[in-house]
Each structure stands twice: as structure tokens, then as C-alpha cells.
Amino acid sequence: MNWATARKLLPFALLALGVAAPFALPTFLVQLTFLWIMIVFALCWDILGGQMGYNSFGNIAFFGIGVYTATIVQIGLYQDVASYTAAAGMQTISLTPDQYFTGLFVGLAAAPLLAVAVAALLGFALLGLRGHYFAIATLGLGIAAGELAAAWTFLGGASGVQVPVYPGSLESGRLLFYFLSAGLGVATFLTLRWLYTTRFGLAMNAIRDDEDKAEALGLRTTRYKVIAWCIGAVFLGLAGGLVGHIIGFIDPREVAFAGASFGVWMILMAILGGKGTLWGPVIGAVIFHAMRELFWTYLFGWQNVAMGVLIVIVVVFFPVGILGWLRRRYPQLFVRDVPAASRGAAE
């Protein structure tokens, strides 16, 4: 089998692997679920960071909005939210399966909507900033969102929110969220794959290469930037809605607006795999997630130190990423099939 056909079959093989994995490795189900979430993280960061050259530290804000919205909506459909959060976990909520699933899907619909609304509003204000000013402003945004959530008593303040318990068995709940996460990961990937082939994708790359020239050529750059940010927010909001249920508890700073963990990881994964490529973030997410689990297992106590070292090493020594390096080393692997007809025309 030559490389060209292998490359075509590879996605299907991976997809089959993704479907089979939860049954083959039931003990790692939660880690596998998070793997898909990590893939969504890396892909969403790469929309702006890789394809458009706008490095955001604040994408975690949309994730956090998703986490809170999905859960608060689910609770709010059946109970008074303020009194529930005021009880800080002392008051339990038990939903019938019907109520639970209605709430879950209404919540999962509301989460991306709110995330996009916030992204659009903030986008028009923030995306006029460039370079490191944008990066620092988004860093501030991510942390400010977490602090606001921690200070807002309606959202449970610093003590967080207890997510409603899944009405079925533990196993079936985990499987459900595995497949929801996997579906989200695949949907994100396919959407971005399509997006990067369109005119919109070209415009994003043009903004990365030279924003002033792109603007001079008549592209409304701010509009493109805001839309790209909103697309990222859709998937991050959905991912947030799922993660709230997977973890089962929302802490404002450690789960929802976890800038120092999820927020940094998404950048690191995209860079590790190769930013500005479609497969790079996916590869980066898989490798990073595996490494992280190893750190947690073998370096317990020092795992966060190891993460810090890893960030510095990757950024300083390996900023091109795995795919970037492969592309430089083995360019023949990345040859695109050009149809014979257009090949003749080009010559």
C-alpha cells in the first residue's frame, strides 16, 4: 500500500479506533473522553492562533461560559438556581431521566449560543488589538472571567456548582459522554477541514501573513477575525457543556476557567503538533494527553513542575511542532494530488 492511499484510509482507521476504544479499554474511558475534549481545545485554539496568527490566552473564557451555562440551564429548568447554589452542595437535585436529558440537550444548545454572543461582543472590542497586546488582553480576560464567576453568588461563588447526577448507571453515563465528546471532536475537525479550504480560510491565512496588506486588498479583517473567534467559541462552549457533566462538579478557577491548566494546554498542544495545520493540533493533543497521563502516574507531586518544563522546552526548542518538522524533513509526504487536467493548465 503506498502512502497516498494510506493517507486516505487513515482517518477512517482512526475513526474505527475511536469507536472501538471505549469497549477495548473500559478502564481508561474517562481519559479517552478527555482526549477528545483536548482535541477540540487544540483545534479551536489553532483557528486563531495558528491559521490567523492571533495568539489568544483567553479562549478558556468561552469554555467556562459553556460549563456554567449548560449546567445552570439544566438545573434552572426544574429548580430555583439561586437557592440551589446558595446551599453549596448541601441541597441535592435528582432528575428523572426525561428531565435530565431534556435539560442536558437544552443546556448544550444554550452553551454555544451564549459563548458565541460573548465572543462576538468581546471580539469587536478585543480584535482591534494586535500581537502581544492581544495576547495579554486575552490573558486578562480569561482570568477576569474566572474571578467574576468566583465572586458571583448566583453561580455558587468560589464554592462552585454541583452538577446534576446522571440518572442511569455510571458506566452508561460515561459511555454517553464519551460518544458525545467523540462526536464533538469529529464535528470540530470536519468543520475546520471544510473551513480551511474555503475563501474564508484563505482570508484567515492572509491576515496571518500580512494584516495590513490583506486590509488594503479589501478584506474586512475585523469581521473575519470576529467570525473566526466565534467559530472557536461554538465548539469550546459545547466542550464546556460536556466537561461540566463529565467532571460532575464546577469549580470556577479549577474547572470552568482553568487558565493555568486547560488554558495553557490548548496552546501547548497546538504548538507541539504544529500550529497552522489541520492535523497538527490533533496529533499534538494525542501526544500531549498521553504524556500528561504518564506525568501524573510516574511523577506524582512533580507533575505540574514537569508541565512547566515541557512548556518551556517545546516553545523554546520546538516551536515548529511535529508536523512542521516533518514537513521540513520529509516534504514528499505532504504532496497534494493535483488532478491531471489542472496540472496541464498550470504548465
Partner: protein, 299 residues
């Protein structure tokens, strides 16, 4: 909003908050000046600034625990942090000096996480404070209290600022630093060892942060993970003041300190950190809007 009414009914509270804010702002000015120094000379935004501050605080804490005067902690923190800064430069920073700004931003962010975690492991996650055993002055018939240590902090800040200005203006190395900031290539052609200049600048910045940290430990609290907020404060102050404007940095820092005190009092302490980060976002947005009218942007 009850607290707002309180401010109007008891005017001396305003004086209290203002004095507190201005005295605390002096410490921010130190860290902000260090950030501006590294930014101006090396074109790096040093995100691990706040961790240097915290580390300085821990050095002072351990000096005091060893039975020495807490004020010895200030020079001790400066010396230790100078070494730390030098090491950080020799290990990591020199590789990113003339590279893409994003790489330096993320690499120093990685350093900040690394330092925070190392401090967490070595010193524990508890919030610590250092008692300098100084008294308190009571002004305006006892309605306004001023902790003497805060006044000392202001004085130390002024002394250090004066020393830095003298160093930059007078010493050969200070001149080399300024020359490198203006044009690194030209400086290199004229025989300035820019690598050494960068190393000194970065280590000097760390030392300044160390002094700030020792003061923070005495007037406030330190903990391994509260470094980032000092970075953000410094960045905000520098953005407000502009690079290479020491007077502006001090004014902006004192203003920020006072603003924080008032907001913390009116909205409640739990909003104080959120306010700082939101203020950062707001300041950047406002500045970029003003520039956008002239079709320019922040660079």
C-alpha cells in the same frame, strides 16, 4: 453600594484608602519599572515578573525566620534574585531574545508556571506574611491609620529608583544598556557585548522584583500562585505610562494602587482581583479605540 455611602458619610475613610493605595502603589512601581526595562531593552514581555516578586518575598521570609532583621531581607532578596535572573537568562531567555514576540511571551509564561509550581513544592501553598515589627501612626484624631512599614516601603522604592536612575545615567554598563535599547545592532558594532547587557538587564530586573517582593511580604501576603497578578499590574502600569518613562510609571502605579483600594472597598474584596484584570482589558481596548480613529494600532 452601602460602602459608597459610607465613603461620603465618613470622609476620613477616603483619606485612609488613598494613603493605603498610594503606599502600596509604590511597590507596584518597582515591579513595573523592571518590566519596562526588560521590555525596552530586550523586547520581551516578561510574564514571570510576578513569580520573581513572590520569590523575593520568600527569600525575605526565610531571612527573617533565620533570626535576622526583616530589613536585611530586602538586600538578600535582591542578591538571590539577581542570581536567579542571571540563571534564567543563561538557561532560557538568551534563546528567545531576538525571536518572535509570541515565543518569548509563551516561554516566560511557561517559566512563570514552572516557578510557581517549584515555590509551591518548596514553600508550601499557604499564604505567608512577614511581620516587620513596626508600629502604626494614627492621624486625624485616630480615624486614619498608617502602618509605618508602608511608609518604609515607599522610601525604599524611592531609594532603589534613585539608584537605578544613577546607574543608568552614570555607569558604563548603564550606558551600554541604554545604547542596546536604542539599537542593538549598532551597539554591537560599536563593541558592546549585547549578550552581557541582556543578561545584566534581566538579572537587574529580577533583583528589582526581589526587592518589591520583600516589601510585599512585609506589607501584604505572598503565596506561590499569586504571582500573575503582579505581572498584570506591572504590564498595565507600563501600558498606561509608556515605555521608558519612569515618572509616568510611578504616577500610574500610585494611581492603580489607589484605584484598587477604592474598588476593593466599594465592591468588596472578592472583586478586587477581577477588577485588576478587567481594568487591564478595558485599558487596552480604550487605547486601541483611540488609535483606531487614526487607522493605527498599539505596537
Amino acid at each position: 453600594m452601602d460602602n459608597l455611602l459610607l465613603l461620603i458619610q465618613a470622609p476620613s475613610l477616603n483619606v485612609q484608602l488613598l494613603i493605603d493605595g498610594v503606599l502600596i502603589g509604590a511597590v507596584f512601581a518597582l515591579a513595573a519599572y523592571g518590566l519596562a526595562l526588560v521590555w525596552g531593552v530586550m523586547n520581551i514581555i516578561n510574564v514571570c515578573q510576578g513569580e520573581f516578586v513572590m520569590l523575593g518575598g520568600y527569600v525575605a521570609l526565610y531571612v527573617a525566620r533565620a533570626g535576622l532583621s526583616p530589613f536585611l531581607g530586602i538586600p538578600a532578596a535582591m542578591i538571590v534574585l539577581f542570581v536567579v535572573g542571571w540563571l534564567a537568562y543563561r538557561l532560557v531567555i538568551f534563546r528567545i531574545v531576538e525571536r518572535d514576540l509570541f515565543i518569548s511571551l509563551l516561554a516566560t509564561f511557561g517559566l512563570s508556571i514552572l516557578l510557581g509550581q517549584l515555590m509551591n513544592i518548596s514553600f508550601g501553598a499557604n499564604i505567608e506574611t512577614l511581620d516587620a515589627h513596626l508600629g502604626t501612626w494614627f492621624l486625624l484624631a485616630g480615624t486614619v491609620t498608617v502602618a509605618q512599614i508602608k511608609v518604609v516601603a515607599l522610601l525604599v522604592t524611592l531609594v532603589i529608583a534613585g539608584l537605578i536612575i544613577a546607574f543608568m545615567r552614570r555607569s558604563r554598563l548603564g550606558q551600554a544598556i541604554r545604547a542596546t535599547a536604542q539599537n542593538a545592532r549598532a551597539a554591537r558594532i560599536l563593541g558592546v557585548d549585547t549578550d552581557r547587557v541582556y543578561a545584566t538587564t534581566y538579572a537587574l530586573n529580577a533583583a528589582i522584583c526581589g526587592a518589591a517582593g520583600a516589601l510585599v511580604a512585609m506589607i501584604w501576603t505572598i503565596s506561590p500562585f499569586s504571582g500573575l497578578i503582579y505581572t498584570v499590574r506591572s504590564f498595565m502600569i507600563v501600558v498606561l505610562a509608556g515605555l521608558g518613562n519612569l515618572v509616568g510609571v510611578i504616577v500610574a502605579a500610585l494611581g492603580l494602587g489607589a484605584a484598587e483600594q477604592f474598588v476593593g472597598f466599594i465592591l468588596g474584596a472578592q472583586f478586587q482581583i477581577a477588577f485588576i484584570f478587567l481594568a487591564l482589558v478595558a485599558i487596552l481596548i480604550l487605547r486601541s479605540w483611540r488609535l483606531r480613529r487614526q487607522r493605527r494600532y498599539l505596537t
